[in-house]
């Protein structure tokens, strides 16, 4: 038994990579992930990637911002030091809208960025985790979990039939620490 953890098919052309995905799927070989230097339309649907849950985080952070913004205004304008401004009630709701709105979108945007960085392990001092460095440049990579799919010869053949320029057998998941 080899120590191969992941088999990477490296393609020079996105169409050939899409063809490779079809061939692997036709043979019931599960694909771990694909890495491409540019977005490719339709690849999420083909790989069955679930829609991002980032909007849920955005909603929660937005809701938090709404409450904070409103609390700030309520405390300063209506509770702590109510003032008569232009004969308005001490809690003039229409005037609360702009600030509440601004705090809502501020927290929503910052929260989304933070969530995105957190989920993708993108924070200062963290080495980026990349399975094939050329996927950030000019190659289109299909990664297959070598332990889940035992028939390595078949995978190799399918990838090469589809037009893979190179098939790698990696014993480590990520190569970017080196």
């Amino acid at each position: 038994m080899s120590n191969t953890k992941y088999i990477l098919g490296s393609f020079a052309d996105p169409d050939e990579m899409m063809d490779g995905i079809d061939r692997l799927q036709a043979n019931n070989i599960s694909i771990y992930d694909c890495f491409t230097p540019m977005p490719i339309h339709g690849i999420e649907a083909k790989l069955g990637v679930k829609p991002s849950r980032l909007p849920i985080a955005a909603f929660c952070f937005g809701g938090l911002g709404l409450m904070l913004g409103f609390s700030l205004l309520y405390f300063t304008m209506s509770y702590d030091w109510p003032m008569n401004i232009g004969g308005k009630p001490s809690m003039p709701l229409p005037n609360f809208v702009p600030v509440t709105f601004e705090v809502t979108i501020l927290l929503c945007a910052l929260g989304m960025v933070a969530t995105f960085f957190f989920r993708n392990h993108l924070f200062p001092g963290r080495a980026p985790r990349v399975m094939d460095l050329r996927a950030t440049d000019d190659r289109f990579i299909i990664a297959i979990d070598a332990r889940d799919n035992a028939n390595h010869e078949l995978i190799d053949n399918l990838l090469k039939e589809a037009g893979a320029v190179e098939v790698k057998y990696n014993e480590r998941k990520y190569v970017s620490y080196e």
């Binding site: 052309d13 996105p14 169409d15 899409m18 490719i40 339309h41 339709g42 829609p51 232009g86 004969g87 308005k88 003039p92 229409p94 005037n95 809208v97 702009p98």
Partner: protein, 411 residues
Amino acid sequence: MGTHNHHHDYNFSEQYTFAGTAKVFSLVAIVLGIAAVAFGMLSSEHIIVERTYANLLLMGYYFTCVCAAGAFFVALQLVTQSAWSAGLIRIPQAMASILPIASLVLLLIVGLGLYTHNLYHHWHAEGLTDPNSPNYDALVAGKAAFLNVPGFLIRQILFMGTYSIFAFILAKLSYNEDLQGGLTSYKKGFKLSAIFLVIFGFTTPIWSFDTIMSLEAHWFSTMFGWYNFAAMWVSGLCVITVILILLKKAGYMAWVNENHLHDLGKLIFGFSIFWTYVWFAQFMLIYYSNIPEETVYFYKRFEPEYKLWFWLSIVINFVAPLLLLVDRDAKRKQNAMLFVAILLLCGHWLDYYIMVMPGTVDTERGFGIIEVGTAIGFCGLFTFLVMTKLSKHALAPKNHPFLDESLHHQI
């Protein structure tokens, strides 16, 4: 480098046949509209006649705005060199093509309204600008250099005439493209659109100041133009969506799919928020500063006669699209989009109603045969003209340089 290898076999020369129930219904609607307007016009009560004029102005303005939004859509797609809309561009082109007729209808209404003193009476009456007259109105007199009958009519003709010419030529260029091919029409359209958008952007606020804001000539708001533009653009997008979905349901335009609908949905959603933004900015500044000459506008709309409708307009035009279209899947479903588009079209009718009625018939407003009949009549007229125009040309611009990209649009 293409990532798609589909072979499509769409029939791009397919043409819409305007016949059967659609045609009968539109003609019946026109007849109903004429009957309702005649009923109002021939009434012995002056206020009913005035109410009819107010409704004609409302629907004439709405009709012209929707057609102008069609022209704006076409120009915007050309200037931004958009590909997604290429497959459905024939719908706004048909709307733009009938802008000349819509403009004439509005001009007739406005002209008759002025002549019979049923519209714009606030600044167009005997002695308003004469300091010795008992009717002297200092505020109107101060604005008379701009707001006078010849100036008003010249601006109406100049603005709507310019929009009509550009709209007609932009649509015509695309129809020629079908016959000649090549990039000549597209490049010409690009240049004309750039000029048109600058003219349109600077003059539509003034056009709405004249047509609608001057009904209450004492009051003014510089934001009114953008508020009207937002209403025009949202309702134009909704009409495009409704026509598109109904055509698709009838089996036409197979090349337009949920991705294109999604983009229309995003525009409707985004510009409904923009409409609210301008509406609220105008309202909030006036509410906060509380200056009598500014609050007069909202004072009228806060009277019990209008208050309910005033807030209902916000619910329909802001809360409804916000909640119904925020979900990605909703923007991709024909029935959900059709529902929201029709709801928003009703909502913007209400929006225009609240703009027009307090300044014309005030507390004598109503909602009956005249309102419903005029609205139905204009819907029929619009449907008849646009669908007749649409049936004259192929439903796809087959030589559009971005048509192929539009087919592969995916979001």
